[in-house]
């Protein structure tokens, strides 16, 4: 078994859904001890996906949400009612043992609970506190609420995703929940390194709309430097894209809703593709990138006609054999169960969840030679690790835990 890089790290974790839970999930996969806290009074319903589909079988309820299991693997789960006086007494004891407190509540919730950064710091002077919300902890929109699609809309990511002469298509999922998780994990790790050097903790204020905006840099600079905005007569075409590549698009292949992508990075790659296409592609207008750009509509039509009768994987294999970037648009089934790259990578580990049973989840797309990740334990059932955390770690007796449960604190 590989060494666990983050074994010395403990995180007290309120963060949920994906933008929050996804960040601590990564640290847990590398060995950090993540203790997720949920409210027993509403069975953890603050996180709407705890009881949400997909479900593995006919069983329903707050221990069976498939997405929740995916996002919370390798974590410990405890219940604690922060609205009770005893909950407010117990929480600081968890903070005192922690390196990091993480949450993605709406801005201001932790202050209202009495545990803003200054209060956490008075409990544990070197604490790292990550707050992750849509618009950040300050500014006129601080009270506004978001989820992935709102973050993507406000940041420009929705507008910049679409095809010519169509409205924005946007992202068909909460891309920025993943983004929030990645930026959150980066911020926590950088802060851990800073603390290791200096002994100093800090408050990490992550506004997902801002982190999303950093992902549109060249478009912003074209405006701030050249004064050229993103709006234009035909709108954005992100399939054609901005990289100096042509053809560069997603083309219909044979069959229903089957598609294949092709990108020619050089004139040589185009020449190789043109030989496959045949005579019409020998048009001298297409010989150089500038020529292909100037005649882009004709070029794209030509490639589209060539792809249309072919199987999408045949196009991919045919062009890859020539060294040209091409990939079929894969369905979930194709990329998960039929793509040899993901299976050989161990991309879909099976975890054991105490209620759901064995189920596959997302893996980590990086292998580390000395401290590789491990994802084997499913997400916790509600309060599954109360005895371990409150009993073994905080030293509460079984009677004490039982009476706290009876009082609705746990």
């Amino acid at each position: 078994m590989p060494a666990k890089a983050l074994a010395p790290i403990r995180i007290v974790d309120f963060s949920g859904v994906l933008a929050g839970a996804g960040a601590t999930r990564i640290l847990a996969a590398f060995g950090a001890q993540v203790i997720r806290i949920e409210n027993p009074a509403n069975n953890g319903a603050w996180d709407p996906i705890r009881a949400a589909p997909p479900f593995k079988d006919e069983r329903r309820g707050f221990n069976f949400g498939g997405g929740w299991n995916n996002h919370n693997v390798e974590k410990l789960g405890v219940t604690l009612n922060m609205g009770t006086a005893k909950g407010k007494e117990i929480f600081p004891r968890l903070v005192a043992m922690a390196d990091i407190v993480a949450e993605n509540f709406a801005a201001g919730v932790m202050e209202r609970l009495g545990f803003g950064y200054e209060s956490l710091q008075s409990i544990k002077p070197d604490i790292i506190y990550l707050s992750n919300c849509g618009f950040g902890g300050t500014g006129p929109y601080q009270p506004f609420k978001t989820w992935g699609p709102i973050v993507q809309a406000v940041s420009g990511l929705t507008y910049t995703s679409g095809i010519r002469d169509q409205p924005p298509a946007g992202w068909g999922y909460s891309y920025m929940d993943h983004g929030g998780a990645y930026f959150g994990a980066i911020a926590m790790l950088a802060a851990l390194h800073h603390k290791h050097k200096t002994g100093e903790g800090q408050w990490l204020d992550l506004a997902c709309t801002e982190s999303a905006s950093t992902l549109t840099g060249p478009a912003i600079l074209d405006y701030t430097v050249n004064g050229r905005g993103t709006r234009s007569e035909h709108g954005v075409d992100s399939n054609r894209g901005d990289l100096p590549m042509a053809p560069h698009n997603i083309y219909a292949a044979s069959g229903t809703d089957e598609w294949v992508s092709i990108a020619c990075r050089t004139d040589a790659e185009w020449a190789a593709l043109a030989r496959e296409i045949g005579e019409a592609a020998g048009d001298p207008r297409f010989a150089t990138y500038e020529g292909r750009q100037a005649n882009r509509n004709d070029l794209e039509t030509l490639v589209a006609q060539w792809c249309a009768p072919q199987d999408k994987f045949d196009v991919q294999h045919r062009l890859q054999a020539l060294g040209i970037p091409s990939a079929a648009v894969q369905t979930p089934e194709e990329r998960i169960d039929k793509d040899p790259n993901t299976s050989s990578w161990g991309m879909w580990p099976t975890v054991h969840h105490s209620a759901i049973g064995d189920v596959r989840v997302d893996g980590i797309p990086v292998h580390a030679s000395k401290t590789d990740w491990q994802i084997a334990r499913g997400a916790p059932m509600l309060g599954e690790h109360n005895d371990i955390v409150y009993g073994e770690m905080l030293g509460m007796s079984a009677d004490e835990i039982a009476s706290l449960k009876a009082e609705g604190v746990l």
Partner: protein, 424 residues
């Protein structure tokens, strides 16, 4: 105060795929030295350019992805270039590269070569399909990664005669880079605890595969296949449209419509305030909703009775308001009434919005070579004890070659290296 990574030196040997990883580390204070061939990184030829004139020092693409780095040139096809790279790597904490699989080994610059006398080195390799496995020799770009790895399947339009969409802005590369940075920092922590370095094998195709939210876990858990829809989550069960063209010709997204009577009352009051109540024909249904003694549930909506009609009217009223006010009025109007709706900004709308200006997100960066200062996107996270910052604009071609050669004790060889074309 200095950045969180101010004690780390990173050697970056990256083109368009990996440069974002280097920027994330550099803006947190790492001394990132970008190594380019004497002709310059190919990304220096990428549009747009300052005043639209191609020039290797004026690509805005290069500017964005290479802030805070130092830049040196080295021809790694020559032995003297490789020797200089070895000396440089010996001073580094991290080497991060996105070269084709096998290239570093052919140069004798792979992890075993560099770590032999430097076991605390961390080396991060970013490749399209990882270094091993049946697809490791395939070619990829941002487009083909997003197409093959899952995101494109979920993005596009209700009309499936239109193609799936590659989300804009090099997100496939950036997703690979996010994983590269996260795991590099995990390795930094392991080194902090134990002194031991290691090699990280980043698979960009796999990175897309685990950045698809419900598309993957719907299949893994329930063998459901999500289907793309305009401007909203791809889903195995179709949902109602949310994207609306507002009164000023800009788009908004309406999100989840309210289901609580109190929220429906707020919506009626807003319609009234705007003078639209009588124009909106279904307002009596809204009144019925506001007078309910319980919340509308997903279940009663699915059952299709009166509450489904009320919920339909609530949705319609949001669309009606959006169509009759500006996109910004709709955004502020809904959010200040506790409804999670959004405005579909362009990137430049965002950077000019007062909220982000007040928070200091737009970041001025001085370009002394042009005598100008330009606004860049700012901090993805605030870390006040070790502030994020753009330390300097992207390096001019070979700007720090002399400086860095001197730091690794090769100052006396500079002119011969220049004559041989090892450096530019």
């Amino acid at each position: 105060m200095t950045g969180a990574l101010n004690d780390l030196r990173v050697i970056e040997l990256c083109t368009e795929a990996g440069a974002w990883a280097g920027k994330l580390l550099a803006d947190m204070g790492a001394d990132v030295i970008k190594v380019e061939p004497p002709t310059g990184s190919i990304t220096r030829t990428y549009a747009p350019f300052y005043k639209d004139v191609p020039n290797p020092d004026r690509s805005l693409f290069y500017w964005h992805y290479n802030t805070s780095k130092r830049g040196v040139t080295l021809d790694l096809t020559q032995a003297a270039g490789r020797e200089a790279f070895r000396k440089l790597a010996a001073t580094a904490d991290v080497v991060i590269e996105d070269q084709p699989v096998g290239q570093m080994a052919r140069w004798g610059l792979d992890y075993p070569d560099l770590a032999k006398d430097h076991p605390e080195l961390i080396m991060t390799s970013i490749t399209p399909f990882g270094r091993s496995g049946p697809r490791s020799s395939e070619q990829a770009t941002d487009l083909t990664l997003l197409a093959g790895g899952g995101p494109a399947w979920s993005c596009g339009y209700d009309d499936h005669s239109l193609p799936p969409v590659r989300g804009g802005g090099n997100q496939g590369y950036q997703t690979g880079c996010h994983w590269a940075v996260v795991t590099t920092l995990v390795a930094v922590m392991h080194r902090d605890f134990t002194g031991e370095g290691q090699h990280l094998d980043v698979n960009m195709h796999a990175a897309q595969n685990v950045t698809t939210e419900a598309a993957s876990y719907s299949w893994l858990v329930a063998r459901d296949t999500v289907q793309r829809q305009t401007g909203r989550h791809a889903s195995a069960i179709p949902s109602q449209p949310v994207q609306v063209l507002a009164g000023d010709g800009r788009y908004v997204t309406t999100g989840f419509a309210p289901r609580r009577p109190r929220q429906i009352r707020v919506l009626i009051d807003w319609l009234d305030e705007l003078g639209f109540k009588e124009q909106f024909e279904s307002w009596p249904l809204l009144e019925a909703g506001a007078n309910l003694d319980h919340d509308i549930t997903m279940q009663t909506i699915q059952e299709g009775g009166e509450e489904a009609m009320i919920f339909g009217a609530v949705r319609d009223s949001l669309v009606f308001i959006a169509e009759h006010v500006t996109a910004y009025e709709f955004f502020i109007g809904t959010q200040s009434r506790d409804m999670q709706c959004g405005i579909i900004y362009t990137p430049e709308d965002m950077i000019e919005d007062k909220h982000f200006i007040e928070r200091g997100f737009p970041t001025p960066v001085e370009h002394p070579e042009l005598g100008e200062t330009f606004t860049y996107p700012g901090a993805p996270y605030r870390m006040p004890a070790s502030p994020w910052q753009i330390y300097r604009r992207a390096p001019l071609l070979g700007e720090h070659t002399s400086e860095v050669l001197a730091e690794i004790g090769l100052a006396d060889q500079e002119s011969s290296l220049r004559t041989a074309g090892v450096i530019a």
